[in-house]
């Protein structure tokens, strides 16, 4: 069973570049380091976008995020290809992952679009700026469904990969389920305007985003190991 694997290493090594993009965008966006509170009034939100120092940082950071969001797709596809190598009887789990891989980044782009729109004409009616800001934060925070799906399908795929030398080890499955659990509460973020559940709170912002960051790092490493191991096996065209 040979598989054409040319170029996969290049795709894999785009991950560190993406990580740099992502960390710099995160630090650059003035609304993340101290996340904007949902309780801010329309005037406060408008003032935030009108502040000339903020405005430039919002625009540049969101442009970077835009690139990052789509850049994740090749990495997710590499994971799908590893799932295809597993000892499954049907391609169903890899198809399900492929569906999630297209949904997650699309929704991230929608949130990104709303932020950029809010920043495009900050002189707009504050009510409108607040509306774009709400749409952006709700989309960004609550749309964890595809990410949870991704983690659960990876965990299932690993558990059903019943062969002497599985593609990923069992702990990766448990790790994915843990990440899914950490992401889950964020889908209810709109219920709370303040506190840990609000979109600037401990659970919905810090735990959620830390879980995603950790997931990207850990999956990046195990994916790299799996790809390098596969290339050392005989029969793979390198």
């Amino acid at each position: 069973m040979t598989r054409r694997a040319d170029g996969e290493l290049i795709l894999l090594w785009t991950l560190p570049v993406l990580a740099v993009l992502w960390i710099s965008a995160f630090l650059l966006f003035p609304g993340f380091v101290h996340p904007m509170a949902p309780t801010m009034s329309a005037e406060e939100v408008a003032a935030f976008y009108r502040d000339p120092e903020n405005l430039a940082r919002i625009r540049y950071s969101m442009i970077l995020f835009n690139w990052f969001g789509v850049g994740m797709i090749p990495i997710l596809v590499l994971i799908v290809l590893q799932v295809r190598r597993m000892a499954h009887r049907t391609p169903i789990l890899s198809y399900a992952l492929l569906g999630c891989a297209s949904g997650g980044p699309t929704l991230f782009l929608v949130a990104n679009l709303f932020w950029l729109l809010a920043a495009f004409r900050p002189e707009r009616d504050p009510q409108l700026t607040q509306l774009f800001n709400d749409l952006a934060w709700v989309t960004f925070t609550s749309q964890v469904g595809f990410l949870i799906g991704q983690c659960v399908f990876i965990a299932l795929a690993i558990h059903l990969d019943r062969q002497p030398r599985p593609v990923f080890s069992k702990w990766v499955a448990h790790f994915n389920l843990l990440v899914a659990a950490a992401l889950a509460p964020a889908s209810f973020t709109a219920l709370a305007m303040a506190g840990v559940m609000a979109w600037d709170g401990l659970v919905s912002f810090w735990i959620r985003n830390a879980a995603i960051a950790l997931w990207i790092v850990v999956m990046g490493i195990v994916l790299g190991q799996a790809i390098y191991r596969e290339r050392r096996e005989p029969g793979v065209a390198a």
């Binding site: 391609p91 169903i92 399900a96 297209s102 929608v110 749409l135 595809f146 799906g149 991704q150 209810f188």
Partner: protein
């Protein structure tokens, strides 16, 4: 390969208890991946009906000709229902991945090109974003700040329902792709009449289009023709394909043979 190697001895009997049976299927059932997809489909459509009709009460859809104060009141009546109900929708969105994967897999079993399965997978993965999630996001944003400018709440109301009813293209083309695959298939994965039923479903997606033009009457987004008749067709269609997919899985015979590539 490995699966057949471990399966030379006869399979142990399944225990009688419910939990025991689940454990047996988890360990030995060769169709496990298919059943997971099928149960995801059952659970997803049940929850979908429950959440959209009973928890959030956004279906049957409200009147598009409501005036602005009435729209604000509509959001007020459903404040917690919208926030909790759509929270659950966001939580379970991922199940759609398994549902679409199973439907696409049904096409891989057919004698047609894999192009059909991949088109279907792409179209339906795409469809969830405008057809369901954007609607939910707009309604959640509308519900979370009751003190927002009423004109903006009314804009969110239009955005939500037009995104829900008005993104016809994805379901139209998706049904046609499935129809063509079924009619051309020589492996008889599905009966031909289900292929024709796909055409009926596709035609109702055309019938939805006037919802973009009318604010009241039978062609508006809550109309007798654009909503009620179409919903009946959709429920029949969904019920039929859930049953047919189940039959397909039951018929599937993997035995203990080698794994497919």
């Amino acid at each position: 390969m490995s699966a057949s190697a471990t399966r030379t001895a006869p399979l142990p009997e399944a225990s009688r208890s419910w939990l025991g049976r689940v454990a047996w299927h988890w360990r030995y059932d060769p169709k496990l991946e298919l059943w997971i997809g099928w149960w995801a489909m059952i659970v997803f459509y049940q929850l979908y009906g429950l959440l959209f009709f009973l928890v959030t009460r956004i279906q049957p859809p409200p009147d598009p000709s409501f005036d602005v104060p009435r729209i604000v009141q509509w959001f007020g009546d459903r404040h917690h229902g919208l926030l909790i109900g759509f929270g659950i929708v966001f939580l379970i969105t991922g199940m759609l991945g398994a549902v679409n994967a199973l439907l696409a897999y049904s096409m891989r079993r057919m004698s047609v090109s894999p192009a059909f399965a991949y088109s279907y997978l792409l179209i339906y993965s795409l469809s969830a974003v405008p057809g369901m999630l954007l609607t939910c996001i707009a309604l959640v944003v509308g519900a979370m700040r009751p003190d927002r400018d009423p004109r903006l709440i009314s804009w969110l109301y239009d955005f939500a329902f037009m995104a829900f009813d008005g993104t016809m293209g994805v379901f139209l083309i998706g049904s046609l792709v499935w129809m063509a695959a079924i009619l051309l298939d020589r492996n008889r994965v599905f009966p031909k009449w289900f292929g024709y039923l796909n055409l009926c479903n596709a035609l109702t997606e055309v019938v939805v289009a006037p919802a973009w033009i009318f604010k009241r009457g039978v062609f508006a987004w809550d109309g007798a023709i654009t909503w009620w008749i179409d919903m009946v067709v959709f429920v029949i269609y969904t019920g039929v394909f859930i049953t047919l997919i189940r039959k397909m899985i039951v018929r599937e015979d993997f035995g203990t043979g080698p794994l497919p590539e």
